[in-house]
């Protein structure tokens, strides 16, 4: 949100419009690219980190670009029913999951059991212990996505189940699986 110039306190109704609907979001929807740049500055770190954790480090830049370009195109549909950050975050999760879905479909043709990708790193040799972020990146796709959405981003199991098209029970068991794997890498 751009800083308000010195002057009288904002009227409550105007403050409501700004808080509920997002002043910069509305300006950007009207075509104001500078307002969109301000939105980018405010949210880029969170979206890029989400992409890095949900997908991978090398995909994060491209996914972040795609999320913000999609947001620019769809800003007209932002109705102010939630904060702009919430709207953008949901758009990002949906886009990342859709990309990962198509990528995993391709991978499934020639890949083995994803769990085999996991390499436990018992810290008997501390120099081999993985950084926690790296350990998250090494989790199997399903467990990693659910772990990031629940423990990092704060979604509920019901929301995750709907986004991923799985049952609530699957979401819970995959979360537990991810945590059990990651406890090896707390050191």
């Amino acid at each position: 949100m751009k800083p308000r110039p010195p002057g009288p306190e904002p009227d409550p109704l105007i403050a409501q419009l700004e808080a509920v609907n997002g002043g910069d979001a509305y300006l950007a929807a009207a075509g104001d690219a500078l307002a969109f740049a301000r939105l980018y500055r405010e949210h880029a770190g969170r979206i890029h980190s989400l992409a890095r954790r949900m997908a991978s480090d090398h995909e994060a830049d491209e996914l972040t670009q795609d999320v913000f370009v999609r947001a620019w195109e769809k800003l007209k549909t932002f109705r102010g029913e939630s904060a702009f950050g919430t709207w953008l975050h949901r758009l990002a999760v949906n886009l990342i999951l859709a990309r990962r879905q198509s990528a995993s479909t391709r991978r499934a043709r020639d890949a083995g059991d994803e769990a085999l990708e996991w390499t436990p790193a018992r810290s008997a040799q501390p120099e081999l212990a993985m950084d926690f972020e790296t350990a998250i990146a090494k989790l199997p796709d399903g467990a990693r996505q659910i772990f990031v959405l629940f423990d990092v981003e704060g979604y509920r199991h019901e929301e995750i189940a709907e986004m991923l098209g799985v049952s609530v029970g699957t979401s819970k068991s995959q979360l537990h699986r991810a945590r059990m794997m990651l406890r090896e890498h707390l050191g």
């Binding site: 300006l27 009207a30 075509g31 500078l34 301000r38 890029h48 972040t64």
Partner: protein, 264 residues
Amino acid sequence: MTDSLFDLHGRWAERLSDYLDDGLSTDERAAMDEHLLACAECRDTLEELRAVKARARSLRDREPGPQVWSAIAGRIGAPGLSADGGSDELAARRAVKRIRVPWLRSGAAAAALLALGIGIGRWGSHTPRLPTQHVEAPAPGTPMNSDAYRVAVTQHLDRTEALLTSFRAEAAGGVVDAQVGEWAGQMLGNTRLLLDSPAANDPKLRTLLEDLELVLAQIAALPRKTDSNTTEVDLARRAVEEKRLLPRMQTLAPATPPATAGES
């Protein structure tokens, strides 16, 4: 024995995350509490899971490199527009989505006058400007005075008053036409230019322009052919009424009569 609920040790362990996330029923939770008193292994595992959860919540976000915004700016039609607010004006101009308002194009003399007013004091300033398509700031060296700014404000308020009157009528009539949104988009750009001028030093006028800025942004963002019963239309309509925008514009404009040769 509460093992009727969890009769195998492995089943206790599998429910530890649910326990941690407060996802067990009252009976299950009581049973787990009892089990934890007796099972050191589950207690240790629970603490590790708690630490994982806390660690996840403390992860820091990392900003992307500058190349990410550069690519985005190119893809939205604003190559060269920086993300730090210090924008290349030409890039910002290109970034503005095309908004056509035929009546304004035909009023070239009025637009020129508006531009003259907006330009008061700007030619010596390096303050970044917001983009617009129809209003050009005067070149450095153009003679200016504060009367020209008042003329520009007066004309702008006249047009904005006409717009808000149309919006109010259409909102009451059932459907807000897309052209009103386009019109508001144009007025929004001009409002921000007027606000951005160093000559905008009257607190009363600034407050009015700031209120107009938000309401015009609301109207400009309405979807095409908006049903007037939507929350967005209602919020914008309420803002017009409760901020008393129309009476304020009517009283403010005559209070600063133009006194330049640009008066028609």
